[in-house]
């Protein structure tokens, strides 16, 4: 239902808006939109870059397969629509952190988890003051239903002192895991690992039918078909994540595809 006319209408609205801004404000806006523009550009070129980026954004959204999002968006039509938000208020009103050493894990989908963490000022300054400060890393540890660690069920992701969050590519769906924020002194077998913070336990959701489905009778299978199971990206067996970026030394066996 893309309406090119709508986009061009908004382009002209946005042109009107941009025209009212100083060159400095245009640069600030471009910066807010994540555009990396060289300094010294003519005003017209800065405007063009902004309008191009906006049009691209807009088209991406409309061609998205996210039906729910598109429908929901119409509720908010009285607002900015596709036009530019000229408020340059990107500086966060909130402090980014709470001066504590912690880590929390959230699961996004079968392939990705998100972790955010922090180190207290005291912890951080002791590390900053130490030239041989041990590197930080996240250890993603697969656990059983009771929370016990699985043998060989972990992998590490190095992070820096400046990092405060990370999206983690999971090896497969349907696992329970936790994330430890760690530092390591020394290398290889002789290394000493210190756990700075331990996350909550999380379960990555499944994308495969439960074992035992083969026990469903013909009537049940027919009803699953009639429910549209064929169109739902549901697998019949657990797969390793095909797009996973495998850390060195943690290569996994490739899974079967459906």
């Amino acid at each position: 239902m893309t309406s090119p006319l709508f986009l061009s209408q908004n382009a002209s609205v946005n042109s009107e808006k941009l025209d009212s801004l100083s060159l400095e404000a245009l640069y600030a806006l471009a910066d807010k939109m994540g555009l990396d523009l060289p300094t010294g550009l003519e005003r017209l070129f800065v405007m063009e870059e902004i309008l191009d980026a906006l049009a691209e954004d807009s088209e991406d959204r409309r061609s998205s397969s996210d039906e729910a999002l598109l429908v929901e968006e119409k509720k908010y039509s009285g607002s900015e629509s596709d036009s530019l938000d000229l408020r340059i208020d990107d500086s966060p009103q909130l402090e980014r952190r709470y001066n504590e050493t912690m880590i929390r894990a959230l699961v996004r989908d079968p392939s990705w988890a998100f972790a955010y963490w922090d180190l207290s000022d005291a912890e951080k300054s002791s590390m900053l003051g130490d030239e041989s400060a041990p590197p930080l890393f996240l250890r993603i540890i697969e656990v059983d239903r009771e929370g016990g660690e699985l043998k060989h069920g972990h992998f590490d992701i190095p992070v820096s002192l400046e990092d405060l969050q990370w999206y983690i590519n999971l090896p497969r769906s349907g696992i329970r895991f936790r994330i430890d924020l760690c530092s390591r002194r020394g290398v290889a077998a002789g290394s000493r690992i210190r756990i700075l913070a331990r996350s909550n336990l999380v379960d990555s959701p499944r994308q495969e039918l439960r074992p035992g489905t083969e026990g469903i009778d013909r009537a049940g299978l027919r009803l699953l078909q009639l429910s549209g199971i064929g169109d739902m990206r549901i697998h019949t067996q657990i797969l390793d994540n095909p797009i996973r970026i495998t850390p060195p030394g943690m290569e996994l066996q490739p899974g079967d595809s459906d």
């Binding site: 999002l69 908010y76 900015e80 596709d82 966060p92 489905t213 429910s227 549209g228 739902m232």
Partner: protein, 527 residues
């Protein structure tokens, strides 16, 4: 074998937007547009069906945030003023186009719409739209249910039972305040389900909810009736399953009924077509171009060369689409019935605002559907009615799921909105700490604690995350979260330092006046 059963579920929800500190506020128009194009027209539809003795059943969520806004005096006044502006605009347009054989009838359609809205809002309901809904609730025509207090995306808070309970309990209290009854059902915001909700919802005596087809089919064990019957969690909560085909027929922006070329184009609005000087008296103070609600063109297709909207042709099509929907569902029920031990059920949950606001002809589609239903081998039921007929279902636990892109939490947890969780989780944690530290407060300290609780639940609203991801009104959305968190921070500091800014607190209570009955103890640790 009993005939197929069809259950329509509408989720009426808007996030809490109320800014008395400004004389007018752009985002308050979300409510005004939905009132004009969806909520009041829906009530008119119910009255017409009732008058003609057409049997109709509907399950409908009125979210606590929406209920609060619909019951708010200030927003009521502002809506009345909005209607007057719309009527003046429609009148100016009638003067400009009234004699035009093509656009004249379309303009008059809007004049009639806003006149009816004003008549209903002011005279019939005395500005009490909730009362209008309650009338049909008490008559048993619609089954009103609730949803998360501020529509938080609950699966992401699965690890925080205090956060989840606060969202459920504040919603229950708000529902009882608005309608005087305990809701039987709970709409999952964004259809976001996590297995921990099975116990959490039952703890509040919720009987049923609805999940996506995919979430149910991935459940443990696999439901052997597919989406044609609900499942029951071990806790006793009944979980209805969305019908995938019925969803696509109405929901899809590309293939669904609302995309038909003959229907009115949502995006082409005179607010972007006509000269600013002409529109200025009807716009907000900053005179920025906005959607006015007056749209004269048909969808036509992917072309800039739009055809004028023909309301008569659209009405013919809407009847065809309603008949087609009923025929398709009847056929699906007929295919499923031989494999079932009970009547196949098809649950069709949609956003209420799709009807009328997003899809202009949607209210007529619903009307046509109810009026034609008797011609098809289908029974139309509410979810409560179905549950009374079939209290037992297969025991199965659905999988983590939502109706968002990808089927999980991708929409509400991505680079645009992930920063919010650090703050909302911290706020919940600190609120729990406060509730434990001050379990029996009264007077001023209790007021501070209650307001702190309100700010925490407001910060969890999933609509803000969605808007940040969509890039629409994203600064506004971000500011809502920041304001709630920052307000909470100030209240927390007041309690910790034992200093109270009474004037500021009173101002905040007046501005964020949602959940007047909220009891901060809902955040106490769940043991």
């Amino acid at each position: 074998m009993a005939k197929g059963q069809l259950a329509l579920v509408l989720n009426a929800h808007l996030p809490f937007v109320r800014h008395p500190e400004h004389p007018r506020f752009l985002e308050e128009r979300w409510l005004f547009e939905a009132l004009s194009e969806t909520y009041l027209p829906l009530l008119r539809l119910f009255r017409r069906l009732e008058a003609d003795a057409v049997p109709f059943r509907l399950t409908m969520t009125v979210s606590p945030t929406l209920a609060s806004m619909l019951g708010d005096k200030l927003l009521g006044e502002r809506y009345a003023a909005y209607l007057e502006t719309q009527l003046r605009l429609a009148s100016a347009e009638e003067e400009r186009l009234g004699s035009d054989p093509v656009f004249g009838p379309v303009v008059r359609l809007y004049s009639a719409l806003y006149r009816e809205d004003r008549e209903d809002f002011e005279t019939l309901y005395g500005r009490d739209v909730l009362g209008g809904l309650d009338f049909f609730y008490k008559k048993g025509r619609i089954d009103l249910i609730t949803t998360g207090a501020t529509h938080a995306f609950l699966p992401l808070y699965a690890d925080s039972p205090e956060a989840v309970s606060a969202q459920i309990e504040a919603a229950m209290v708000a529902h009882r305040r608005a309608f005087g009854k305990h809701p039987a059902g709970f709409w999952l915001p964004q259809l976001g389900w996590h297995p921990m909700l099975a116990d959490a919802l039952r703890a509040y005596n919720v009987q049923y909810t609805v999940v996506t087809t995919r979430g149910a089919l991935l459940g443990s064990p696999t439901p052997h009736r597919g989406s044609f019957a609900p499942v029951q969690c071990p806790s006793g909560l009944t979980v209805f399953v969305r019908d995938a085909a019925a969803t696509k027929a109405v929901w899809s922006e590309s293939e669904g009924y609302p995309a038909d070329p003959v229907y009115r184009d949502f995006y082409r609005d005179i607010g972007f077509d006509l000269p600013l000087e002409y529109l200025a008296p009807y716009l907000e103070e900053d005179r920025a171009r906005i959607f006015t609600g007056l749209k004269y063109w048909a969808i036509t297709g992917s072309t800039a060369d739009k055809q004028p909207y023909d309301p008569a042709a659209a009405l013919v099509r809407v009847r065809e689409h309603a008949a087609n929907f009923l025929a398709e569902r009847s056929a699906a029920a007929e295919r499923a019935a031989p494999h079932m031990d009970r009547a196949p059920l098809m649950v069709c949950p949609y956003d209420a605002e799709l009807f009328g606001h997003g899809w202009f002809e949607g209210i007529h589609w619903l009307e046509s559907l109810f009026r034609q239903a008797e011609e098809f081998p289908l029974g139309i039921v509410s979810l409560s009615e179905y549950l009374r007929a079939y209290p037992e279902s297969q025991v199965s636990m659905p999988e983590f799921s939502s109706w968002g892109d990808g089927g999980y939490a991708e929409v509400w947890l991505d680079g645009s909105n992930d920063w919010t969780y650090r703050h909302t989780f911290k706020a919940v944690e600190r609120m729990t700490e406060l509730a434990e530290r001050f379990p029996d407060e009264s007077g001023l300290r209790e007021r501070i604690l209650n307001q702190a609780g309100r700010e925490v639940v407001l910060s969890m609203c999933s609509d803000w995350s969605l808007l940040m991801r969509a890039g629409k009104a994203s600064s506004f959305a971000r500011r809502q979260v920041e304001d709630s968190i920052s307000n909470f921070g100030k209240l927390y500091d007041m309690l910790c330092s034992n200093t109270v800014g009474t004037e500021w607190l009173t101002r905040l209570e007046k501005r964020n006046n949602i959940f007047p009955d909220l009891n901060y103890r809902i955040f106490r640790k769940k043991r």
